[in-house]
């Protein structure tokens, strides 16, 4: 593990491991408790494979009641718990701890209700993102957020990470498509937030839970909004001689009042890697390639495609293809969707970053990345959710060369610092996890982070749920709660008053 400090292991807990495993078996009978090292190997990492750690024990509950009993048991005995969905986190959100119970939610895999009149699906958290869309596709419906791991990632994990996808500029993130959850707090209390209705009756705890990275509660049921599939979708594949021109084209499309269903950009290295892998017919002599997908009724697409084509031409496009069939549209996407494995073919390893920037800063950030690439001696390929400014630089490295992973991580950290410097953020959709934890200070000062940690204290005052993630340094809740009121100071100095 390269330079990552996790919370110190609790020796007292480790000494009682056998007893804890036995107690877990009482709560979850059958095959639901895994403690053999060989079997726990499958859980030692998630989508961020640079980090590995065997948990103390793996528990796979099947009911909310079991989850509640496990958490209550651990809370009373000061035992840490790391929740895990499908284990596809790209930021190490489900990285186990040596002295923690790994709570795996994959057996919560049933769809509980499909309610077309209210356009709602109620699912257990282990159901995959794509599984929800598949359950309703015969009736022409789908669930809009579509992270690229949608085949595997779970809806519970989507809530934890507030997952996005290529369609979120138009259709929103997980937070905008979840109506309710049932969750268990670390003290074992079961709480329901929202439901089939809209908005909360009190504080927006659902808003806080979504994207909280498994630190506040364990989701045991999710209610999501489903949508009718658009009549059709068509895509334009547009090549530009520079990223500046491609970026201006994106800005002009939005300025024209058009919000495409998806708008993706790839830079030259990404285009070449993708084309070599899937032969989608991408132009190879351009610096930037845009995929603009419009969805809706035929009349709308006929109207808008011409306008987008015109905007592209005004911005100096050198190639422009418009999909004439569903097959052709899918071919346009083939290269983009395979960009990560395509890059995986040209490099032994790659490291996927996830910053968001104001789109107008794209040329500056790409330029900065080229300089960093030279400085570190590592190549970088870029795929970019161009509509919302979410950048995914892929840093190419070889883990077998000593020191190269460290170099890739330092390169990645520099890219994210650059994103923040130009007015952007550390992560657009992959989460902070352990990966960007120590960079939080780039975006937030200690007061900002303390207030976030106080929210944690309202949910889990013992810091037992998924500790070591998100926050660079955990401060005890008692310490965070202390007030420093200066009674000596002049009350209300110099403020206009009536």
């Amino acid at each position: 593990m390269s330079g990552l400090t996790m919370p110190p292991s609790d020796k007292a807990t480790l000494a009682r491991r056998a007893e804890i495993v036995a107690d877990m078996r009482l709560i979850v009978p059958g095959e639901g408790v895994v403690d053999a090292t060989s079997e726990m190997r499958a859980f030692e990492t998630d989508g961020l494979t640079a980090y590995r750690q065997l948990p103390m024990v793996v528990v796979l509950p099947e009911t909310t009641r079991q989850v509640a009993r496990i958490l209550k048991y651990c809370n009373e005995r000061n035992i840490k718990v790391v929740p895990r969905g499908s284990g596809t986190s790209l930021s190490g959100g489900a990285l186990p701890l040596e002295d923690a119970v790994l709570l795996v939610m994959s057996r919560f895999n049933r769809i509980l209700d499909i309610d077309y009149p209210n356009r709602i699906v109620v699912a257990q958290p282990g159901v995959t993102n794509l599984g929800i869309s598949i359950a309703v596709e015969q009736d022409g419906f789908y669930y809009a957020p579509d992270p690229s791991s949608q085949i595997a990632c779970s809806i519970g994990g989507n809530v934890a990470e507030n997952s996005g996808g290529v369609h979120c500029l138009k259709y929103g993130l997980t937070a905008n498509n979840v109506l309710g959850i049932e969750m268990v707090l670390m003290n074992g209390e079961i709480v329901r937030l929202g439901g089939r209705h809209l908005d909360a009756e009190g504080y927006d705890l659902l808003g806080i839970m979504t994207g909280s990275e498994g630190l506040l509660g364990v989701v045991t049921e999710v209610t999501v909004r489903i949508l009718k599939r658009p009549d059709m979708a068509r895509a334009l594949l547009v090549g530009f001689p520079s990223s500046e021109e491609a970026g201006q084209c994106v800005a002009d499309i939005i300025a024209a009042g058009i919000i495409p269903g998806g708008m993706e950009m790839m830079d030259r290295p990404a285009i070449h890697a993708a084309e070599a892998f899937v032969h989608a017919g991408y132009p190879l002599d351009v610096e930037a390639l845009l995929i603009v997908e419009l969805d809706g009724c035929g009349a709308e697409l006929d109207h808008l495609i011409g306008r987008v084509e015109e905007i592209a031409r005004q911005n100096g496009s050198v190639t422009c293809r418009i999909s004439q069939s569903e097959e052709e549209r899918l071919v346009f996407w083939l290269g983009r969707k395979a960009a990560f494995p395509a890059v995986g073919r040209i490099s032994p390893d790659y490291y996927c970053m996830d910053g968001t920037i104001p789109r107008k800063e794209l040329p500056r950030v790409l330029h900065g990345m080229r300089e960093l690439s030279e400085k570190y001696g590592l190549r970088v390929a870029n795929v970019f959710h161009a509509g919302d400014g979410n950048l995914h630089p892929l840093i190419l490295y070889d883990a077998n060369i000593p020191g190269e992973l460290d170099k890739a991580e330092a390169f990645g950290a520099d890219i994210l610092k650059l994103c923040v410097k130009v007015g952007g953020v550390l992560t657009g959709e992959h989460g902070v996890g352990v990966e960007k934890r120590d960079l939080m200070g780039e975006m937030f000062n200690q007061t900002d982070l303390d207030q976030q940690m106080r929210v944690k204290c309202a949910f889990d005052p013992g810091h037992l749920l998924n500790p070591g993630k998100v926050f660079p340094q955990l401060r005890r809740c008692a310490e965070l709660g202390r007030m420093h009121i200066h009674r000596g100071q002049m009350p209300f100095p110099d403020i206009p008053r009536f």
Binding site: A200, L205, F444, C457
Partner: protein, 402 residues
């Protein structure tokens, strides 16, 4: 009793620190256009944010707008309108309901009350569009959350925590919202003379189609004459709004007509009248200006009319429906009937009721916001304590929680 009118976030911090040192609670107001909602606040001083005003950043191509909390919503609306953009969640104006006239309200109030409008069913509420905030907590600390980009999952989303918190967690001083292009045009299809249950089916059918309906409301006959200058009087009106580019709107309206042809008599309402109509629905114009108690109820759309039907067997109430039926505006004949209403909502699958308009003694005696089950109420109280441990921000406004 002093009213402070800070014009900078530093001054807001100073007022909160002063209140802490005196342990003197503050009532936080913008224009006061929603002061009639919630419990009356018992505070030593008033923190008036109306001088903390001005748009600080507007980048139409980046789809973001930042403003100080006291910036008039009307000013922001005008600026966006000039650039053919909008706050897509269509924030309602509570003024008319309280007989105060339209056009007041601040952007800070929009977030504090998590306001939305008819487009809530398609585009979300204020909570879905807030990108970042600067605020001063009840601990007297200035903090920030979120950012100025439209996609961000860095750290807990404390901006959303402010949505619907009615100023009980922190004093928000600066806000950044996502803005979106305004639709080129709109048309509303009105299906006439439907009963509430048939209307619920028609709206569900329309929302479940690919016509991308951006407003679905049902006005029973007692209400239909009270919108758009009486243009819909005489029969119930079930209204479906379609927005977008002209050829698309025309095609989708045709698609809806085809889909619903068996439902009843239909009429098309053109863009100008459609805008007026949805503004009236948004602002609850049918119940504007009166004194009778008004509830805002959020439920599953399929259950709403059933609940209303059952309630009417116990108490006199006038109702109309937005959000495909899921938002019920309910004007009670006499008493608020809080317990009868809330029991009925629970019986029909749950949701929540907020007493929007009521006389002061009723607001003091009743739960204005939906009471929460014990574990949830305790969690909300702990959250409040983490932001405002001394209870100096809008004490009692949300009663149970804040």
């Amino acid at each position: 009793m002093t009213t402070f009118t800070p014009s900078s976030s530093e001054e807001v911090l100073s007022v909160v620190l002063g209140a802490l040192s005196e342990e003197a609670p503050l009532e936080i107001v913008g224009h006061g256009s929603k002061r009639g909602i919630g419990r009356l606040v018992q505070a030593a001083h008033t923190l008036d944010l109306s001088a903390l005003s001005g748009v600080t950043l507007y980048e139409p191509e980046e789809l973001i707008l930042s403003a100080k909390a006291g910036t008039p919503l009307a000013e922001i609306g005008k600026l966006l309108d000039d650039n053919r953009q909008q706050l897509a969640f269509e924030p309602m104006d509570y003024g008319p309901l309280f007989g105060d006239g339209p056009g007041r309200g601040t952007i800070g109030g929009v977030l504090a009350a998590n306001i939305s409008g008819p487009r809530r069913i398609k585009a979300g509420a204020a909570r879905d569009h807030i990108l970042g905030i600067h605020a001063v907590s009840g601990r007297g600390e200035a903090f920030k959350s979120g950012g100025r980009v439209v996609k961000n999952v860095t750290g807990y989303d404390l901006s959303k925590a402010m949505a619907g918190s009615w100023g009980t967690l922190a004093v928000v001083t600066d806000l950044t919202f996502k803005v979106l292009p305004a639709a080129e045009t709109e048309t509303t299809l009105a299906v006439r003379d439907l009963t509430d249950d048939v209307a619920a089916n028609v709206m569900a059918h329309a929302m479940g189609s690919s016509a991308e309906v951006s407003g679905a409301a049902h006005l029973p006959v007692l209400v239909s004459g009270k919108v758009a200058g009486g243009a819909l009087s005489g029969a119930a009106a079930t209204l479906l709004r379609v927005e977008g580019v002209t050829p698309s709107v025309a095609w989708r309206i045709g698609h809806l007509k085809d889909l619903l042809k068996a439902a009843g008599e239909m009429q098309e309402i053109g863009a100008e009248q459609s805008r007026a109509l949805w503004r009236d629905i948004r602002d609850c114009a049918p119940f504007a200006g009166g004194k009778k108690p008004v509830w805002r109820v959020s439920m599953a759309p399929s259950e709403a009319h059933r609940m209303v039907d059952a309630l009417r067997r116990q108490a006199g109430a006038n109702a109309f429906y937005d959000w495909q039926g899921g938002l019920i505006w309910l004007e009670m004949e006499a008493d608020p009937e809080a317990s009868a209403l809330r029991a009925m909502i629970r019986r029909f699958g749950g949701g929540h009721a907020t007493l929007i308009r009521a006389a002061e003694p009723e607001r003091a005696a009743l739960d204005v916001f939906e009471p929460q089950p014990p574990a949830l109420a305790a969690l909300s109280a702990r959250l409040k304590a983490e932001f405002d441990p001394k209870g100096i921000l809008n004490p009692g406004r949300m009663s149970g929680t804040g």
